[in-house]
Assembly symmetry: C2
Homo-oligomer: 478 residues x 2
């Protein structure tokens, strides 16, 4: 056993060192490995299986709302990147540049896409002529590269996986509708599928996407009280269309500029899953996004009939959930810890005595609650338990967010709260970027969003004391 | 209608100019668009939908044979690429080099992966310690970059989409078994799913993959008589394991080098689909890989009840096939041509008279055969027709290949055949690379493979006249 991997080593507790706890989980739950390439991670089978479930469900929702997948080149010629002024300013400082092909220097250097607006625009310019060609509702699954200095697996990496939707519409109204539609797709996906409650809102001018007219966001709260931007949806107006010359002949025989949107979520959603649901025994996965929903652990598996029963149950239950048997030669206690570390929502223990009584023991990952169930009822009990667990995780996360959402009237109070308690802070803002800058400078917190659901928590800007225009959700963010 | 796209323009005929015919199809069937990035293509929704069907089916077959998906970084540090001598020699001349991140030069340049053996090896070295960790059966879906000078969409592009399987085994025997297993997965996928007959065989030393001990291949024949390498599977022996230090502690307590394989197919399979099944009216898709299997064309759609009937049929038939209604305001004849161009396997025409008679007209794409069918029987007739079409396309492709497979006894005969008729040529070979080189020099044909199914078409090497060791399939290749 000397060279065997030890799973059961305890991980750092969340309270003690949250960052180390996170790092322990991603390694010990076999989600990622570090690579020889600075800032790039290896997504291991278990981590990738989670991403595949995310992809499949999101892709279904995108197609349901009329979107089609395409694939664009991974390179962007420098001159193309430069066509939209704000966009190039935002991204040029953090792109990777290809300068040589084989042994020859390129006549124009290419960046590895940090995002693909410019490529989509270049294509749209060619394929859109008439109002009949609109809308175009495209999406792409790929990886992008941003030359970040400080990286952490899933949360911020030089290369990451994502999807980017890029759409074109005839009118400003349709573009705005699409931007909000996709924000809502993201929000309901996070809440229903990942059991992560989110706050929907608009980014401030300072925080919006480079080149956008408006950026909408969903923001979630992690276990340590820090915020995570979990998905964004941008309305570009006709800014890119003007920069790239995307025009269509309308019904009234006039040439008009098109209106565009883009929207994306990334593998950082896996980071959110860890930091919203995880605990000191490891990962906790909501059933819908769990690659293995039920793990069967044979107890006293050397006793005749036990392994056969485990396989038989697996056969039966694979019709109602994603199920595996752990028939390795480790002790049951070790196996329990391993699958807890990997966040498997439900464990089924079956041994000789259980077989005698025609029952099994089910144990929930989230709270180790034990349930004795007749073997005959598993097909009805297990799906019901999965639903309960899914809902319970969501409720728990929502409770946590509510407990850690505070109100601050002025900057002193704001500072005290953020330093003592961490969390979301609701505070009024005048709309002036100088005040926003000042909050960040003093507290390292940023405006996460101007939530759609406004609430009047005061009359005056927390910073300058002038009349407030918006309630803003602030927080320190990943 | 002035700015409307014209689908019905005839395309260049295959006989007249095969290359132009190919280019016409990929553009007019909306498969790809050219991009501003030299040698990189844009895969449009219809082309990408074909790729998604290919991916889904292959992924299912990979998982069925025990493989798991992972994701590796897209960059390879130069020092890592250089670890295996043959490998770096093969790939270094054709990689894209990243030299700057943001505005700073990198201390070590990174290439964009042309293939990921070195990254997988670097990872395997870290995660493999014991025989218990073996086998590792990983696969990755991604894009790779090779700095090709001459490119053609799907067939040879600077960036292309593919999957690359990378596996590690305890013994040489298991690695060889895996290499052949995956070749067989590819072969049956091509034949059953894409309706493309393939020849399975081994590459010569000259043609094998950089760093491999042995490369196996499936080769198919295009309509113009040129060969297309359609998938390869490599046995690396322990060469990479020695270069990277991938060792495991065996049951006998000895440290041993692992054995590895890799295997891949790419978006060039879409090129194969076009060039094997297409005709002068456009693309012809086998039903299994057709994004739309049945297109419903309402005839006299302004007549009351026609469109409703079309939608009703769509609802019903969506349970047995992928179906769409074309309710655009174009003339039926235009619609026929459009969907023929896009290779939709079956067309359903329904008009007022058909409704009266409770029947529809079905038209097969492959030969325009018309079939009158009662509306009540569609659910049984259509799936049966799909099977028939799938089989018929395979049979036709196989017949074509047989008609264009020739035997040559010596180099003169070989040259005459390849110049006059193009196609596969079976000829005996002594095994000496000098002879292989000479064939290529004189005829531009290469050894496609040494087929598993050997056939003695002579005793002597076609080139030197010495005793022959293998029957080889030769051809000019894409």
């Amino acid at each position: 056993m000397a060279k065997e991997k030890k799973f059961v080593e305890a991980i750092t507790s969340m309270e003690e060192d949250f960052a180390q706890w996170y790092t322990d989980i991603i390694k010990k739950a076999d989600l990622v490995d570090y690579s020889s390439v600075r800032g790039c991670m290896i997504i291991r089978p278990y981590g990738y299986a989670i991403w595949e479930l995310i992809q499949k469900e999101l892709d279904r929702r995108f197609k349901e709302t009329g979107h089609e997948n395409v694939y664009m080149p991974m390179f962007i010629p420098e001159s193309l990147l430069q066509k939209e002024k704000d966009h190039v300013e935002g991204f040029a400082p953090e792109v990777a540049w290809v300068t040589h092909g084989g042994s020859e220097p390129l006549t124009e250097r290419l960046c590895v896409r940090p995002t693909s607006e410019t490529l989509f625009c270049d294509h749209y310019k060619n394929i859109i002529q008439s109002y009949r060609d609109l809308p175009k509702l495209y999406n792409q699954w790929c990886s992008v590269v941003r030359w970040e200095k400080t990286t952490r697996p899933f949360l911020r990496t030089v290369e990451f996986l994502w999807q980017e939707g890029h759409t074109v519409h005839a009118t400003a109204e349709e573009a705005e509708e699409e931007t909000l539609r996709m924000l809502n797709v993201y929000a309901s996906f996070c809440e229903d599928f990942l059991a992560i409650p989110v706050i929907k809102g608009k980014k401030t001018e300072k925080e919006k996407f480079a080149g956008a007219k408006a950026t909408y966001t969903i923001e979630s709260l992690m276990h340590d009280g820090k915020a995570l931007q979990s998905g964004t949806s941008h309305n570009f107006g006709d800014g890119f269309a003007r920069a790239f010359g995307i025009q269509y002949l309308d019904r009234d025989n006039q040439l008009k500029y098109a209106h565009q949107t883009s929207w994306g979520v990334t593998t950082r959603l896996i980071g959110a899953l860890i930091m919203v649901h995880g605990d000191d025994s490891g990962l906790v996965l909501p059933p819908k996004v769990a690659p293995v929903q039920l793990i069967i652990i044979p107890v006293q598996q050397h006793v005749e009939g036990v392994l056969d029963k485990a396989y038989e149950l697996k056969e039966r239950l694979s019709k109602v959930c994603r199920v595996k048997v752990d028939d390795s030669d480790k002790m049951p206690g070790w196996k329990f810890s391993e699958h807890e570390m990997r966040g498997v929502p439900l464990r089924l223990e079956v041994g000789p005595k259980d077989i005698e009584k025609n029952q099994v023991v089910l144990v929930k990952r989230e709270n180790r609650e034990k349930i004795f169930v007749s073997m005959d009822e598993l097909e009805t009990v297990i799906p019901k338990l999965m639903d309960e667990i899914q809902q319970s995780l969501y409720n728990k996360a929502l409770r946590l967010r509510e407990e850690r959402t505070f109100i601050a009237k002025d900057l002193d109070e704001f500072e005290r709260i953020i330093n003592e308690k961490q969390g979301f802070i609701k505070a009024m803002w005048c709309g002036d970027q100088a005040c926003e800058d000042k909050v960040k400078e003093r507290t390292a917190a940023t405006a996460r969003c101007i939530p759609f659901e406004q609430e009047k928590v005061g009359d005056k800007c927390l910073c300058c004391g002038e009349e407030a225009r918006h309630m803003v959700i602030w927080g320190r963010a990943y």
